[in-house]
Symmetry: C2
Subunit: 506 residues, 2 copies
């Protein structure tokens, strides 16, 4: 058995090296690559993806898994293995099953249609004309349905797609979470609206020197514990974090000289992702267990830092004097409390990525519902815009002026990434649940943050979450850390308390 396991580990090592190599190409593409190189970079990446796919689906892997007696079982237990090795076999097996179930022909068609689809989506968005993207969306939905059938499911066709991003989660569970969440978020929104409080945000659109923004962002990353021996911060059009090696974590941001929030909260968010990737236990390094266990958990780390730390009053009680000294003109006459209120203002909007903490999850729920209906066949691609606009009216009382700020705003569907959106909302829920536990276990935590001691936060997250990588499935990890499975009440309580303070109710 040791020998079989050794052979799997050898193969996995090569796969991880290739995965990181592809990540290097991707990072370069988004940061420094000259524009004319784009076409050939796609060829380079597609070659690497082919090499990786061939290794993941190598029949010999299937034979080894069969000999280990785990073939075909999604949550196998092999007698006599350590906890880590059990998780390793489970994840290799999951990866093998998922990849071998998809016929090569479907993979190629999906790659082609989503590649075309992204181009058409970009064009349609530029023209604010959904009808230009609709035929692509139709094809991509059809292929995604085909994909879901190949992967197989019990309850809902949505499940195998969701499972790509949030393993083991089901749409039945999501429904049970999202239905009450939607109602309670709307109630909270109503309270906020009817509070009558007016919050100034004009000063956030002042003039903020980019170099100073950058230095301040770097200083906060360091305080958070981002290790610049093992990582970097660069600039890209769309901020992201990526892992180029076990000791090579890169994050990016973009700077807007005329709006403060863009860069700094982006940096804190990506740094949260980066700290997770930097925090895997040494004995997982170089294996597929040195990966975030789910996108929801990953997002919980970025949102925890961005919103629950970076948009908290204790954080700014420490950092605000530094900030206002850095930007005396823009922040003249603005005190810490004004600033805190401004960066937490709640205002229903049409665009997800600009949404506040209260309305954000409503944007997600709208997308989730539409995705389910598309995949169930309840609606066709052509109906998506009307449903979209109807739901925005109903939940947020907003109507897009055009498709660019409506149904065309996100790239995800053009990439075939159905099942992805819910992980953003799950991230909010997990993060609030982790926050509750942290505050319970370290009652002095807000005082520490007020002293600028962010290291203690990272240490706690590292110990409870980061180091485990993918050893425990997300739901199991959540239960181990917080004592229960994911529960939206903590997020709702957090929002009510915070915004009760800001808007003067509750």
């Amino acid at each position: 058995m040791k020998e079989l396991l050794g052979r799997l580990k050898e193969r996995d090592r090569e796969i991880q090296l290739l995965v990181h190599t592809a990540a290097i190409l991707g990072w370069d593409q988004e940061t420094y690559m000259p524009p004319a190189a784009l076409e050939e970079r796609a060829e380079q990446l597609s070659l690497l993806e082919g090499l990786i796919h061939r290794r993941i689906t190598d029949p010999e892997v299937g034979e080894i898994l069969e000999k280990l007696g785990v073939d075909g079982n999604r949550s196998p237990v092999v007698e006599g293995l350590s906890e880590t090795d059990t998780a390793f076999v489970r994840e290799i097996n999951r990866q093998y099953i998922r990849n071998t179930k998809l016929p090569q022909d479907l993979v190629v068609r999906l790659a082609r249609e989503t590649s075309l689809g992204q181009g058409r989506w970009a064009k349609a968005r530029a023209n604010a004309d959904f009808s230009m993207f609709e035929p692509s969306l139709k094809t991509i939905v059809e292929l995604s349905i085909e994909k879901a059938h190949c992967l197989g499911f019990k309850d809902s066709i949505y499940d195998p797609l969701l499972d790509q991003y949030e393993p083991y989660m089901t749409s039945r569970e999501l429904d049970a979470i999202f239905t009450p969440l939607q109602e309670k978020l709307r109630e909270l929104l109503l309270k906020i609206k009817s509070s009558g409080a007016k919050i100034r945000t004009d000063f956030l659109s002042g003039k903020f020197d980019i170099r100073k923004q950058r230095d301040f962002g770097l200083a906060i990353c360091k305080k958070m514990g981002f290790d610049f021996q093992k990582g970097r911060l660069d600039i890209s059009a769309h901020p992201f974090s990526t892992t180029l090696g076990n000791r090579d974590i890169r994050i990016t941001t973009r700077y807007n000289e005329n709006f403060f929030n863009t860069a700094l909260f982006g940096i804190i968010h990506e740094c949260g992702h980066g700290l997770y990737e930097m925090g895997f236990s040494e004995d997982l390094a170089g294996t597929l267990l040195a990966n975030g266990v789910s996108l929801g958990i990953h997002e919980s780390q970025s949102r925890f830092w961005e919103n629950m730390i970076g948009r908290s009053l204790p954080f700014w009680e420490y950092f605000y004097s530094e900030l206002s000294a850095l930007f005396p003109d823009a922040l003249r006459g603005v005190d810490c409390r004004d600033f805190y209120n401004a960066i937490n203002v709640v205002e229903p909007s049409l665009v997800r990525i600009e949404a506040d903490e209260v309305t954000y999850s409503l944007h997600i729920i709208i997308r989730y519902k539409i995705e389910k209906m598309l995949l169930n066949g309840e609606i066709t691609a052509g109906d998506a815009r009307d449903i979209w606009n109807g739901e925005y009216k109903r939940l947020l009382d907003k109507t897009p002026e055009n498709d660019a700020e409506g149904v065309l705003q996100d790239i995800h569907w053009s990439m075939g990434a159905f099942g992805y959106f819910p992980t953003y909302a799950l991230g909010n829920l997990y993060s609030a649940q982790f926050r509750k536990t942290l505050m319970h276990e370290m009652p002095s935590i807000e005082n520490e943050i007020r002293k600028g001691n962010l290291a203690v936060v990272r240490e706690w997250l590292g110990l409870k979450i980061h180091r485990w990588g993918s050893v425990y499935p997300a739901s199991e990890l959540c239960r181990k850390v917080t004592g229960e499975y994911v529960n939206p009440d903590y997020f709702l309580a957090y929002l009510a308390e915070k915004h009760g303070g800001i808007y003067g109710f509750g």
Copy 2:
């Protein structure tokens, strides 16, 4: 035959994509990679090298070459193929032969010893103590001798190693070139010394703002025709140029605020390399023919631009007013002629990379002689320092104070790169020969340069040299462009004329 050729081309395409992928990893390592990532980056690169090696030596390639009737022949001609396809088969065949002749075991031992060797060399250099590196050098020489025997040779054990960098060139030819070159360079050096002329260089060590140096360097690259849609200029500790894709050529430099020459002449040099790589004909793109044909020819392009253009009087007659306006303090009271003389000053030194145009090739000849003796077994690694110091005394009348500025100054031997150094000197010879032809074909060329019209230079080089890639072997290319094989007389005449003007003789 068409089908066989097609199969070779398909394989070559994959190899080129992987070669460029490895180049991306290498570029990142030297420019942006965080330090802690070094160890795993070596693993990633070694995996890619393995993938490339396996594809180059795939037995099926041998079978196809055999079917084409070229197996084992270094310069095969296949009836009925176009010029380009003939060259393609020749180069694939060369690559296959070279790589299959080396046993895997030797490749692994060489990789390990040179990897260790580089570490020991760096340490020895830091301690200025050759004895710390000597055991490594001994092993690397032994393995290189073994390598040369595996590759096979007729006349000299030096030839198969030289052939890695300067294909088809032999040490017999080098001897015939270097022996008179050495004597005539020494005669010229004597003339310069006895001219008694004193040349001011102090102002080159003034204060030069790095951002201004960078902008000026970028402007010159643009004038030279470097296309920033297809390339970049970045910073690295050791300047280099590298190709990450057919439309992705990267160059680097380093900036020294207190010495002008470092960055700018480095940029012009690397830009010369970059223009070669940018200039391959479109129909070679993506194949192994889209490569410099030899390191000597490659170096001819960088040195042509750096020395024969960038250190020429017409060049500075155009650019000097801009430069002196940029650095008014450092260049106060310095006129164009003073500046031109200063950047061309001849002064024997101990360090190759700081050498002027006259003494540079003498540094190379010393290394070439020592390499031959080491590989012939005339001397052992332990003798290298004494021979080195003796030759420096004899040829340049300089004695290193310690091994760091003597025998330990270059990394090449620790990398096992025997046969590499001569290509630097060949670059000088080729470039002067190309220059002579250019001046003959375009008598107005100096006037064009004086008007800042560098495009005409790049166009000529592009038409005559760049576009051919590796279609013609270096000697053939040289004959096609200049009407004769490499001949050191042009380089010597160029130096005599230039320095006769500067030092007032001849």
